[in-house]
């Protein structure tokens, strides 16, 4: 006899979601340590108003974020190229949307680079799949070596990703001119990059920020034609080229 669903309890799929989310929201020991040191420094000063835990953790946060953003891109490359994604939480993964509907707004380009929607095979014409099976771990953050070591064809993958990172960082910092310059440099150096769509999204966003709407629209039109089903399309709607 089939078990009836009872809303007095959470369904398994909801429980799995909570478990995964809970893990994602659990600070690690290093974060706890930094927070405690900041707290003690503040208590020593005797002023709650003077406490600023965020400033105490800024440097470490920045470093971790940079690593994780690289890792996210590596995952995108791996997934788009057909690399199998770890199935540790497969049950929960089945629940998750392939396109995050809330991924809009000012962080458009960032959304594309970090979005969970990494299985958009028709996003861009792709060359041979990169093999990034050796994903970097927290204990050995050496992504460049891992990537190039597993696939000689992607020798400069690290440079590719790094440059795009710089463009993204500049965009986030509000330096649209520099972001555009870096994105265009990326286009020159890596014309066949697998992150071409994401690069174009940064360019569009930067052009909009610089008031060069006509150029942005032209590039966006090309991007839409090139990647009709990419989540980047939705993100573009939030920029000056949005219809």
């Amino acid at each position: 006899m089939a078990k009836t669903v009872n809303d007095t309890e959470l369904r398994p799929v909801a429980r799995d979601l909570l478990e995964t989310a809970r893990l994602a929201q659990t600070p690690n020991a290093a974060q706890r340590e930094r927070a405690y040191q900041a707290l003690m420094a503040g208590l020593g000063g005797g002023s709650i108003g003077g406490l600023k835990a965020s400033s105490a953790t800024n440097m470490a946060s920045t470093a971790s974020s940079i690593w994780l953003k690289w890792a996210a891109i590596a995952a995108i490359l791996g997934a788009v190229g057909g690399t199998a994604i770890g199935a540790k939480h497969r049950h929960t993964a089945a629940l998750l949307p392939t396109v995050a509907p809330t991924a809009t707004g000012s962080a458009a380009a960032d959304t594309e680079l970090n979005a969970p929607n990494i299985d958009a095979p028709d996003a861009i014409p792709l060359p041979a799949a990169p093999s990034i099976s050796a994903a970097p771990s927290a204990s050995s953050p050496a992504p460049a070596k891992s990537a190039s070591a597993t696939n000689p064809a992607s020798d400069d993958l690290a440079g590719d990703v790094s440059l795009l990172h710089q463009a993204l960082a500049a965009s986030h910092a509000g330096n649209a001119a520099h972001a555009l310059e870096l994105a265009q440099k990326h286009a020159r150096l890596y014309p066949n990059s697998r992150l071409g769509v994401e690069r174009s999204a940064i360019e569009v966003r930067s052009l909009c920020a610089l008031g060069r709407a006509a150029e942005a629209r032209k590039l966006a039109a090309r991007l839409r034609a090139q990647a009709p089903n990419s989540p980047v399309r939705a993100a573009l709607e939030e920029t000056c080229v949005g219809r």
């Binding site: 959470l10 929201q25 709650i48 835990a53 946060s61 998750l96 949307p97 809330t102």
Partner: protein, 201 residues
């Protein structure tokens, strides 16, 4: 250090058994470092799930522990330490969110830093990010009262009695809100799963 529940590292249920075993009056004897490390994750998640903006979470969490530090000597052990801390967190977070513009918008990006658990790989990090985005969307569907109860009961695994204590209400009210919240959350999770299946036949 091992005697207190380690919410930031362990499962939701196991630490509570340890805490229950501890005599409340003995809590005051613990050093503050132990309390901080044991409950830092709990307070951090509580703030994050209440939509305190990412850039302000550390400060809000710190304020919770500052208040706890100042009041620890007056803690009488009539409730568990976790319930006591939850009460402080509830008040601090509520006061913070009451100020105009302090609540994080639903579309704000998730902080990458929090997705990188030790030993995790990029795919897992992305999966966690998607899980968090979905969790926040579902929490947004709840009323403030339902969300409060849901977070404490389902995410932080407090009992309905403990939650009633934290919120200063009765257990029946907590149960009613929890029932309604579960119903909404179950439906939202089911819809998300159905949508995912539709997108990936």
């Amino acid at each position: 250090m091992a005697s207190l529940p380690t919410h930031s590292e362990g499962g939701a249920n196991a630490p509570r058994a340890n805490e229950t075993a501890r005599a409340p009056s003995a809590v005051q004897a613990h050093n503050f470092r132990e309390i901080h490390d044991s409950y830092y994750g709990f307070v951090w998640r509580y703030a994050a799930n209440h939509r305190v903006p990412q850039m302000a979470i550390d400060d809000v969490v710190q304020e919770v522990f500052v208040v706890a530090h100042h009041r620890l000597s007056s803690f009488e052990g009539r409730s568990s330490l976790r319930t006591w801390l939850a009460g402080i967190a509830h008040n601090v977070v509520r006061a913070y969110l009451r100020k105009p513009g302090n609540r994080q918008s639903a579309n704000t990006d998730i902080d990458d830093l929090q997705l990188l658990a030790p030993g995790s790989n990029p795919a897992e990090a992305l999966e966690r990010k998607a899980a968090l985005e979905l969790l926040h969307r579902l929490l947004d569907k709840l009323s403030d009262a339902q969300r409060e109860v849901f977070i404490l009961c389902e995410i932080e695994q407090l009992s309905s009695v403990e939650v009633a204590d934290v919120l200063g209400t009765n257990e029946n009210t907590v149960r009613t809100r929890l029932f309604a919240a579960r119903k909404i959350f179950n439906a939202g999770a089911a819809r998300a799963r159905a949508a995912q299946k539709w997108q990936k036949p």
